[in-house]
Symmetry: C2
Subunit: 272 residues, 2 copies
């Protein structure tokens, strides 16, 4: 398909945005759009400048026979903070407290634009680290893991608290659920994670940390390695085992009596 | 931020791709990129041509005071068929059959690129219909609903088979699970769906149709309306109640003895 330069730039931009972290040779574009490799190279230079100036992401060019371009999405600190401050406000809305001191999050974690932004912020916080898969626990973590995996362009892996016949053989570990003061089991399908994978763990709400400790012990059952842990929100009041994690939001107070939640920005911005 | 025309087209393309089905005024772009509205209008015309020629989607321009542009993603019949034929082949791989005649799908339904393509095909099949939310049942349906909702830029709603304290008040209905020959319950958080919503139901695998019938009866409990039903795969052998649905894949045979699955293209292409 032969296109004018301006149109070519639009479709190449679209391709890169939809194929993050993927190496694509300039020849692929040259063949597809019937243009000289040097013209494609100039297109990429303009797209790169536009992406960087607008903090959409970086485009890296690798030279040589197996070379090409790779798009890495990014987000500016200002945009990320504005997004998280908006989430703080949404979380502080006074109708979110459920009996037992839980916070209703389902509406936020099922809105594509919010999920996409959370995915961008978490992926950005682990930029430059090799990640093969994103792991989470069903059900609430799934859209979050999906969002981060979309940006990193890697599969996500769903750990379950129950056994399903549609998963085939599974590996299980025990974990201590702090909130319920019980030992529980979690399961992961044997074929869902390759050995030696480098894994980012993502979850919605960090309380005692038992679920995450459980997922970390699953990683060693799969001969895989932890890259890091990211959570949508953490409960600042909760005592938990020493554990490195990044949080978008920190819930410092849940006042059930007065129906009030105090939320602040999490630690993910400490080294951003 | 002042940009050159070519750079402006790249960032406007990026914006439109990431904000499908959203009306944005030309003034928004004009202000943001310090350009005349007429220049933005010319940019949009070029982007529109490129998007349409490459089957990325359509851009509609609404004139008047409350006017602007809306991007509607689309997919060509050829690209959609190529994607589904590739999925047919993946599903026919002979190590997918699990004891009991189930098919292992989790790897496909946790790969961002595959999910994105499925989302594009399903959203495209319901293009032109007003959809306020995508509904599915936990857990397997979640990434699918998420993918379709991403393209339609609407929230998704997760029906559960168990009661969770983090969902607040719920409404429940009974449904007949054909596969297990039992009456079961499904639950939906009361605040997760607005009354009078127009809802697209999405699920991973259609067997007897009990789960989908259950979700349809939940819709009437929420004074909401069914737009349509789309499934990733249907079991052609299964007898089920009369029900309109679109399927990407049709599994016509699961031969457990010989470890063989026969899969063909589903009915979603019948009127595409």
């Amino acid at each position: 398909m032969k296109l004018r330069r301006s149109e070519r730039m639009v479709v190449i931009s679209n391709y890169l945005i939809n194929n993050p972290y993927k190496l694509t040779s300039l020849n692929t574009f040259a063949t597809k759009y019937e243009a000289a490799k040097s013209s494609i190279s100039e297109d990429i230079a303009i797209i790169k400048k536009a992406f960087e100036e607008s903090n959409i992401g970086e485009i890296e060019t690798l030279t040589g026979a197996s070379g090409g371009v790779i798009f890495t999405p990014s987000i500016s600190r200002e945009e990320a903070i504005a997004i998280v401050e908006d989430l703080c406000q949404k979380l502080s809305e006074n109708n979110r407290i459920l009996p037992g001191g839980y916070i209703y999050l389902s509406d936020l974690l099922s809105t594509p634009k919010i999920l996409q932004n959370i995915g961008r912020i978490i992926a950005n916080a682990f930029k430059g680290q090799k990640i093969d898969a994103v792991m989470t626990v069903a059900t609430k973590g799934v859209p979050l893991a999906n969002a981060v995996a979309n940006i990193l362009n890697v599969p996500f892996v769903i750990v379950r608290r129950d056994l399903k016949i549609t998963e085939g053989s599974t590996v299980s570990v025990n974990y201590a659920s702090a909130s319920s003061d019980r030992i529980e089991k979690m399961f992961l399908s044997k074929r869902s994670l390759q050995p030696n994978s480098r894994v980012l763990i993502v979850d919605d709400f960090l309380k005692g940390g038992g679920t995450i400790t459980g997922m970390i012990s699953l990683l060693s059952e799969f001969d895989s390695h932890l890259v890091g842990v990211a959570v949508f929100a953490e409960n600042a009041k909760e005592e938990r085992e020493q554990m490195a994690y990044k949080s978008l939001l920190k819930v410092s107070e849940i006042d059930v009596k007065n129906n009030k939640v105090v939320v602040e920005v999490g630690n993910i911005f400490n080294d951003m």
